[in-house]
């Protein structure tokens, strides 16, 4: 049945080359853990992507209940955790996944660094990877405020103090992030939410696309 539906579509729009181009490629022996178990270190990039997918999905579902408003943010989080079925699991996935994604990203970076895989011709991909790392850290930072509890609030106060420490433009940077020169409140939460769910993910998708296109174009780096 599925095969027939696939054939019907493929007959008309020829989708086979599309997915073959993405999915069908040789895995070199030196990155296949079936040959050399130590090749598991090549999995960290894929694991980062896998956890990122979990983050995107669980985040999408969380916004069904979460509201970015100082009166209701904490209450909506409390409600989805205590009253909604599987609320603890879905928020748990997003909460722990946020840490796991940083860990995986770091392990991936270590592998690339110690294998020297960033060297010519892959310097550009290293740079894009570093940008992805910054975007991920920013996602973690903006997401931390959203539950609007004491920990979230004071962590953000500290973050803003750090931003203020930047020479010359510190005060402007702080106001830009905060939405107000002094009050950490309504505008801060709305801004952090917008940055967390729209701006940073958009940047992340673009960077990831570039990262993946480049790795397909250049191929994986050779054995040590």
């Amino acid at each position: 049945m599925l095969q027939k539906i696939y054939d019907w579509i493929d007959d008309r729009v020829d989708i086979t080359p599309l997915w073959r181009d993405i999915a069908d490629h040789e895995v070199p022996e030196h990155v296949n853990p079936a040959y050399h178990f130590s090749a598991f270190v090549y999995c960290f990039g894929g694991l980062t992507f896998f956890v990122t997918v979990i983050q995107i999905l669980s985040g999408m579902f969380l916004t069904m209940y979460y509201v970015p408003d100082i009166e209701n943010a904490w209450r909506s989080v409390y409600y989805l955790q205590t009253e909604v079925a599987h609320g603890q699991i879905v928020r748990g996935m997003h909460h722990w996944g946020a840490s796991v994604v940083i860990v995986m990203l770091f392990l991936h970076t270590l592998r690339v660094f110690f294998q020297g895989a960033y060297k010519k011709p892959r310097e550009l991909n290293w740079m894009v990877g570093v940008l992805i790392f910054f975007v991920m850290l920013a996602l973690g930072l903006t997401g931390y405020l959203l539950p609007w509890d004491n920990k979230a609030y004071f962590a953000t106060v500290v973050t803003l103090e750090i931003a203020e420490g930047v020479p010359f433009i510190g005060e402007m940077a702080k106001t830009l992030l905060n939405g107000d020169p002094s009050i950490v409140g309504a505008q801060t939460l709305a801004r952090f939410f917008a940055i967390h769910v729209f701006f940073l993910p958009a940047a992340l998708f673009v960077l990831m696309a570039i990262h993946f296109i480049m790795i397909r174009k250049q191929g994986i780096s050779g054995p040590l």
């Binding site: 979990i54 999905l57 579902f61 069904m64 209450r75 409390y78 989805l80 599987h86």
Partner: protein, 177 residues
């Protein structure tokens, strides 16, 4: 190689196993999220509490609009919400409490809201009309009679609860049930 051994090739076996394991993992990931999303549909809707609205002695045979305010719990947001009903006593001295929500598109109807029809409910949005017992006047937009409130009288006070379907079928019938 015997015939038997070729029934499932190595490639097929790996395909099935990997698809199976992958599908299982994807399902394990998505199941809590989907259940989380559809929770409002599956949550049991308990009957809402009856609210005191008016002294029975104040009810006449002319429909009057009664408003009452109660504490509405809307997920994480609790607020005072006002609802209304059209209340009167029918010819058998029974209390009738009709919902003001038009059955056409949900506007609020008024008793004698149109001076041409002083003994009917009138909806200003699309000129929908209802007889005193709530039955919709034929050839006006509404397709059903105004809903009735669940009610009970305790110590001379009228309590109203959820709305239910109005069973009236002819304009001569006394309203209520």
């Amino acid at each position: 190689m015997s015939e038997k051994k070729q029934q499932v090739s190595r490639r097929q076996f790996l395909n099935y196993t990997l698809t199976g394991v992958g599908g299982f993992m994807a399902a394990g990931m998505l199941a809590p999220m989907v259940r989380f999303a559809i929770d409002p549909v599956l949550q049991a809707t308990g009957a809402s509490d009856m609210q005191p609205v008016i002294d029975v002695s104040e009810i006449t045979d002319e429909p009057q609009k009664v408003d009452w305010t109660f504490e509405q719990v809307d997920a994480w947001y609790t607020s005072d919400t006002t609802r209304s009903a059209w209340v009167y006593k029918n010819a058998n001295d029974e209390i009738v409490a009709l919902s003001p929500t038009c059955k056409h598109l949900g506007c609020a109807v008024n008793w004698a809201g149109n001076s041409d029809y002083p003994d009917q409910f009138f909806c200003p949005c699309h000129d929908g009309r209802y007889y005193k017992n709530g039955l919709n006047v034929p050839n006006t937009p509404p397709g059903a009679a105004l809903d009735l409130f669940e009610m009970q009288v305790e110590e001379g006070t009228l309590y109203l609860g959820d709305v239910k379907e109005n069973p009236v079928t002819s304009p001569e019938e006394e309203g209520g049930a």
